[in-house]
Subunit: 379 residues, 3 copies
């Protein structure tokens, strides 16, 4: 059980400034109960089913309350009252600082806005969500036969801004991954753009989603892909990363691919990371939703066959900074539990455990995104 | 490992009169070896492969033998001999009483017959299996264009009988969930009824299965759905509850949906329970088949992200009352193991653990089905 | 955690001469770093991502180094240097002997060549890979309308050679299991053969793959099927053994079917083993790739509902004999951990645990393949 593990791996992970390679901005304003609860769940808030009575709610009361000067397991009412008394900005500041994160890579597509977090002593980079770029192009007005070039131009402009380190796609939400893996022809793109532009709305046209993924390859930056767990807008079975296999094969030798979240498909993601050079994975979002009590179990599955060079850390925290803190805590404890147990059982040497912990928490992300750093392992 | 956990959560769960929200009737008659073994497995009985040599058989010898005054782990031969000596009715009475169940909701569609169990001090309610209703309508004779109305009328009559608290569908067996999620038109239903009625047999016509699910919505009662694990008549990959996503979205705001069994898709079911207000789940059938040794592990996955308001208890016991006992025992020990471990690791407060235990074992079912009770948590 | 478990089950499993019912030949020649690393991974070797920095690499350094007279966890460089100094043949001999395997069943289709391993005191049998037979028939030249008969004749000749105990198919790689389950007609086979023979190459024509599976049924020998985890040539979601359900139903009562590897679908494979008489499973390949640290967890899932008569041992070791050793070690420790924990928790009687251990490690394979033995359990 996470939480009980102590020892040198835990100490090293607790001291490591993490690279959170995928997160979102936060609401720093004060939040009432309805507002806070709505940010606590991937569903909605329903009568009689408080999000506090879920694994993530339990984890917030256990691990976030003390940062608001409350006892562990403080009741939800006390938590909300104290958070309100401190004010949203102060609470946010405390959680972000407590996360011990050195680098945040912020998906600026949701909620839309600049990459910014109220942090000192941490670097903030930007991840450009390509569906947002495409939808902006459509909103600005474009002819179907000009869509491909306009999207490409806008995406290039977006990624050339300072601080942009990656692009992201939510194709998993829009169509799922059961797509024709081939690059669509110009004529197919024009025809699909005509269909989409006639009605507008979110980009969910299969040919254009496919075109978006191939455009991402052309951009040359690492590509983050939502896979698995998310909100109620998803069809989970179509977000299985294994469905990407043919596309990964066709795009071999191009950009790094970062499979985000993955749960409950973490083993399938691990398979892809084990056999495709560019594929990496994290279990962000999952870790704070399952909480420290299960983070070790989920990480253990994710790491069953994953090369230790291929696991990254992300919180995928969104909305409330509690999740930036909880994500980091669950990752540190879960990974420490897993590695220290193996060291204690003499299945793993301590120096290797410390190396793998630093890779997963920081160095693998530095390597994939080309972030500055001390390159402590000479890679 | 389940079985070793002691402490206040286990004590509370051991004392809690469970609501078994989905089970079946039992054979109270005496059973010979072949008869007993055939009820012990979801498969058939094969030469050289005794169902006693499976996890559920091991659990029966361990946990049921003492209720027949035998030592733990008694050999199968001794078990069968002692059960025969006591007689089926007495054995059944002992197991049902030992289950500590306060309410049984009995699926009267399989085996067909009235909702009845030889219990004292327990309430028995009925769950109406809609495929059985439809097949009775067909057997009684109906024209294709009268099918929809006749089915609706028969279903209404069935659910208005005293003691009926829910309906159930085995669509997972008949077609699987990869169905067009939309309500079929009257013309589609008539056409499909013509095809089905021409040949008769089990209801497995995709349009009519879809129509059955939508009729369930109209009935207004909670809808139990078989998902995942079952007997050899299943295509497991088509019983994945995630395939229901679009249908759940279209029927939002209507009846409660109870995902039964779920294994090995308990995480996908948990996702649905986390993002759809009406969706609840259990891991019935699974718990006694995996036995107390693995019940905690399966529950831990099922509860990774499930709101604690959304987990229910069912045994799905069928045929022999050993399973009503084993299901209850595996649930109590598995859930106690999970919750007590978190309390011991200071990841969960004891009052919350006790609350969640009572919810899952009794109160969530009372709430969904509107069962009488003390409503101890004021819900 | 595996490794720490001691007790009578572990002692019994350590002393048991295993039947490795599915493995491959080894490279006995000396290997340089690139050559060794390429055999260590199911992927390729990529810059900056050494296969030693993966769970299987960690396990090799931990459990294989001592057999080369090195300390546990020896660095990769030391390991490779010592292996080179000893020479490939000597290293191979040590690992094969340390595996404690009494019987090896060798898939002679990959790498192609005779069933042979440098072992003393162990029997070696052959498993004929049917795709190789079909491709040899094509390479030798055949008319489309003669293909079915030529394939059948060649397969019969292949399986009638001394020492052949089973056939194998890699349909999972070629088309996946989402095939029409019915036996193709002669005309369909001829048409498909015309398409395939016109282009040659690997057998991946869906009708012919289906024909191959039905031909396997006609041959009458146990049929090994690759399912789940493998190299990068796979589409993992199409290798789900549940997709075989309709074919298993149609072929009921014919040959034993052995589901190999299964991960991450071990629970679905377990369902098939629980409801279809002929279906058996192993978690070979997986066990050494996840290493002893996770072998118990994977086996626990595989055994949740599997009858104890239905689990077999295989290493699926290929290329380097380290894997024959590691597979055996991970199996012994993982199964001992699982069974001994249950004995210690009084969930399982020790004699039953010992019986199930011997079944899984040796006797079930003897039974399925009709291998000679003492038939110690009178079966």
């Amino acid at each position: 059980m996470a939480g009980a593990t102590e020892g040198p791996v835990r100490e090293a992970l607790d001291a490591l400034p993490l690279v959170d390679h995928h997160c979102h901005r936060v609401v720093t304003a004060d939040l009432d109960r309805a507002g806070f609860e709505s940010l606590l769940t991937e569903g909605d808030v329903w009568p009689g089913v408080s999000p506090f009575d879920s694994p993530v709610g339990v984890a917030v009361r256990r691990h976030c309350a003390p940062l608001l000067d409350l006892p562990r397991h403080a009741p939800a009412e006390d938590y909300l009252a104290r958070r309100a008394a401190l004010g949203g900005p102060e609470a946010t500041r405390r959680f972000l600082a407590a996360s011990g994160t050195g680098v945040f890579c912020v998906d600026t597509g949701y909620p839309p806005g600049p990459a910014a977090l109220p942090v000192e002593d941490a670097a903030v980079y930007e991840v450009v969500r390509l569906e947002g770029v495409a939808e902006s192009v459509a909103a600005a007005g474009v002819e179907p036969d000009g869509y491909a070039e306009a999207f490409r131009t806008a995406a290039l402009a977006a990624v050339r801004r300072p601080g942009v380190v990656a692009v992201k796609s939510v194709a998993a939400y829009r169509t799922g991954f059961d797509l024709d893996p081939h690059r669509p022809t110009a004529a197919e793109v024009t025809g699909a753009a005509a269909r989409w532009l006639a009605h507008g709305g979110r980009l969910a046209e299969p040919v254009l989603v496919r075109h978006l993924l191939w455009t991402a390859v052309d951009l040359g930056l690492p590509l983050q892909l939502h896979t698995g767990f998310g909100d109620g807008d998803l069809r989970l079975h179509r977000a299985d990363p294994a469905l990407l296999t043919d596309w990964l094969r066709l795009t071999a030798g191009t950009v790094p691919v970062l499979l985000l979240h993955c749960w409950p498909y973490q083993r399938r993601a691990a398979y892809l990371a084990a056999v495709f050079e560019r594929v990496h994975l994290d279990v962000g979002l999952t870790l704070h939703h399952v909480g420290p009590a299960r983070a070790g179990a989920v990480l253990a599955e994710a790491l069953e066959i994953t090369p230790f060079r291929k696991l990254l850390y992300s919180s995928d925290a969104c909305g409330v900074a509690e999740f930036h803190h909880l994500g980091a805590l669950a990752f540190r404890r879960g990974l420490a539990e897993l590695l220290q147990d193996r060291v204690d059982a003499d299945e793993l040497a301590l120096p290797d455990a410390l190396r793998f912990a630093a890779w997963a928490g920081r160095d693998n992300a530095r390597r994939v995104y080309g972030l500055p750093g001390d390159a402590p392992d000479g890679d």
